[in-house]
Amino acid sequence: MTVPEAEAPLAVELVGITKRFPGVVANRDINLRVRRGQVHAVVGENGAGKSTLMKILYGMQRPDEGTIRVDGKEVAFRSPTDAINAGIGMVHQHFMLADNFTVLENVVLGSEPTRAGRLDRAEARRRIRAISDEYGLGVQPDRIVEDLGVGDRQRVEILKVLYRGARILILDEPTAVLVPQEVDELFGNLAELRAEGVTVVFISHKLDEVLKVADAITVIRAGTTVAEVSPADVTPRDLAQLMVGSELPTPETRESTVTDQVQLSVRGVSLDSAAGGRRLLDDVSFDLHRGEVVGIAGIEGNGQAELVELLIGLRTPRTGTVLLGDTDVTDWPTLRRREAGIGYIPEDRHRQGLLLPSPLWENRVLGHQSRPPSVRGIWIDRRSARADTRRIISEYDVRTPGPDTPAFALSGGNQQKFIVGREMSGDPTVLIAAHPTRGVDVGAQAAIWEHLRQARSSGLATLLVSADLEELIGMSDTLYVMLRGALVARLDPASVTPEQLGSYMTGAALAQGAQS
């Protein structure tokens, strides 16, 4: 790590930025000074206000107070166009790509080369190839984005920014979807960019990565800047202390509670793709025991989502069986599975977990609309549902005025705690948990881990799908790796490292194993 030159001029300077939303101050008096040609990390936990700050810098939101200076000149961005013209580019956490467009169309959109009024595809292709070669991105301009993997898409996003001639690059949680090996590749790319004099603003909450890549670090907590530090001067522990005021929670489980009683058994399950081609699930088999947490690792899009939906009854397998205890539930609809004791924490709480405009007590009923206390006969039992919602609110520490509050008004962490509480109601024997702590604050994360641990020790069998490798390694009793729809490895979480896990997830470890 080179020692940053303190004299390097400021590329970006944010002074006293404040941004309010209804009822909330997202950013309060934030200051950020980024020197030219450096990788500057902005760290903070989920919901600390990093994304809002970056949206302000990229012209997608306008600050209520404060000033922005780029290369020493004060600017007022009205839209991303203004930011782009000032040489700022942003790689978003959720990729901003039109799936049905080609790479070329996605890249040139908004700054298209034209000739005689027509879109000049040849020129666009030439420029994209040139940039791709210069930075070793390996992007093919004529492929449809839909067909690309996660890493390729991220490189397209970076190319989009470089194509616009950006000298200041904002990367918002760029490593969230990458395995350790891909993270290293990305850091290689960043090193090249820095060598070319590009400034990088790197948003993350993964402290090890930040310390590895950054020249300077700004810490944000509860919407405001709390420190500016040099990576040479701090340890991960110091950073955590600055970031959340305490140590970060760790997903460690205590002594094993695994029994030999099989609670859920998946046998030879396959699922065809609707479009034909490669199978979504390929001969998947595993057992889930009482008191056990089985973790599924894998790069997103390798069949984990399909497996989860299949287990909760949203998909029917082409072949294979699913046994709940001794009962064949392969053809059971979702509600019957839930009644039989399967709980489900969905990957995307807004999409599959909640009725956002409805009050919490109605959300409590969802998934339990055939069982007390939610119903009496054919009628919804409003009184009991409200009462039981109050129980969840208090047991799971959901911060809300009451059961009549609409779900959308809660923070992600509180929404997620509520969902966990709901799914634990009715004493399930099996819990399907997909990314249970994704995008929640550390307080909620610690609480959810603790609830999962307690449920495990009282005998719950949990299937844990996650992209957070530490969560997987820490919480699981057994760990499987999923690749192209198949379970390709069974690992011992007690001995495996994130790097090893990553190489299984990409298939690299398997290829090496085959060679040796």
Partner: protein, 426 residues
């Protein structure tokens, strides 16, 4: 298919899109249809199946459907579902008739476009700025369009000769027509196709009839409308603005993050959509009837939308859909008995589809096609005429069938119909 029934509906279907059918395939399909039609014409003696009169009528009937379909395309490519096309088309008929009555046909066309565009502007304000559900806004605009036309007629047309609460006075003059020289006798040249058609030779006369129908007595407005199809293609897939507008329909977040003004693109698309619906309406008035009459659009706005879906949100496919519906309409107008011959045509076409399915080892599909083919053949042989009530809904039932058979393979813009609010990207 059972695997997708309970699953989130949109995701798995999205992956398999038809990315346009190649030119060779179009040619082959057209050739097969031509041969089959000729065969049926020769065996049943229903000469109007391929006569220039039928085709000419079909062209005139297809144009408003196609224009409405292009209107639908412009809106849905920017991600706004426009079920209000019918109402905008009604505005087009009324304003078109008003302009035609006051100043003559071309001003009428301009007025019709303006009327439709106003409807489009309203739809854009309601759906884009206020974020109201697109279907609800569209339905409301249909009601408002009909109401406004009725009110304005009551106030403005009543009391003038030929005018009333439900009808306008006739327009001043008409848009002139032309015959294509060399082929169909324009500019005093010999009418080659006409003479070929008279002989009733298998295939040759049929082809001549079809070509003559497309080239004789063509209104300049028709020519303009037909040219709008390739123009739309070039616009959306070959220009900068076209790419930006499509991006808004596919991924408004991506577009906004690159500085594409999403609202402006949507406004342009929806207003042009209304303008095209208005043009479709004024075409009905100026070329079709020379006056406005209540109920004149007869649901063509909806049929246009159906043609667009039939065409998989692409101009070429849309034109094919509009031609199909126009042909069914035209045939029914020209010769009711010829519609009966069409039953045999459908039966034969289904036999071919069944054979193709067998060759591709899709046996269930083959069986269904064969069974339906038999049903049509029986219907053909056991009756002599198709009741007019049933003929009238041919386009609608065709639409349903096409959707039922092909909807899994259709590929609408990814963000079609999804309300979008500025500043949500990121």
């Amino acid at each position: 298919m059972s695997t997708t029934l309970e699953a989130p509906i949109a995701e798995p279907l999205r992956r398999q899109g038809i990315r346009g059918v190649g030119g060779a395939q179009w040619l082959l399909i057209s050739a097969v249809i031509l041969v089959l039609l000729s065969f049926v014409r020769a065996t049943t003696g229903a000469t109007d199946l391929t006569s220039d009169g039928t085709i000419g009528a079909a062209l005139t009937l297809a144009v408003p459907i196609g224009l409405a379909g292009l209107g639908g395309l412009f809106a849905e490519r920017v991600g706004v579902v426009n079920i209000g096309l019918e109402g905008m088309m009604i505005l087009g008929t009324w304003f078109g008739a008003y302009g035609g009555w006051q100043w003559g046909p071309w001003r009428g066309v301009a007025f019709g476009i303006l009327g439709g565009a106003l409807g489009g502007l309203l739809h854009a304000i309601v759906t884009v700025t206020f974020g109201v559900d697109h279907i609800i806004s569209g339905v409301s605009i249909n009601l408002l369009g009909a109401g406004l036309a009725r009110y304005l007629s009551g106030v403005i047309f009543t009391g003038h000769s030929g005018g009333g609460a439900t009808q306008s006075p006739p327009g001043k003059g008409a848009i002139s027509t032309f015959d294509v020289p060399v082929l169909s006798g324009g500019w005093g040249s010999p009418d080659v196709l006409g003479s070929l058609e008279k002989h009733h030779w298998f295939l040759i006369s049929d082809l001549a009839g079809i070509l003559r129908g497309l080239t004789v007595g063509v209104s300049w407005l028709t020519l303009l409308a037909v040219l709008l199809v390739p123009a739309t293609y070039l616009f959306f897939w070959r220009t900068k603005l076209g790419l930006r507008m499509r991006s808004v329909g596919e991924s408004p977040l991506a577009a906004e993050s690159l500085g594409v003004p999403v609202y402006r693109m949507k406004y342009i698309g929806v207003v042009v959509s209304g303008a095209l619906a208005g043009l479709a309406g004024s075409f009905l008035v100026i070329v079709g009837a020379n006056y406005y009459r209540e109920g004149q659009t007869g649901g063509r706005g909806f049929i246009g939308l159906a043609a667009m879906i039939f065409g998989n949100w692409r101009p070429g496919g849309l034109a094919a859909g509009a031609s199909l519906f126009g042909y069914a309409d035209g045939l029914q107008l020209r010769q009711k008995s010829a519609v009966h011959g069409l039953l045999l045509f459908v039966a034969l076409l289904l036999v071919l589809i069944a054979v193709r399915a067998v060759l591709r080892r899709q046996f269930v599909q083959a069986l269904v096609a064969a069974a339906v083919a038999v049903a049509f053949a029986l219907w053909f042989s056991l009756s002599t005429v198709v009741p007019s009530g049933i003929v009238s809904f041919t386009p609608h039932i065709t639409t349903l069938l096409v959707l039922a058979l092909a909807s899994q393979r259709l590929r609408p813009p990814a963000a079609d119909g999804v309300p979008y609010r500025k500043g949500e990207a990121g």
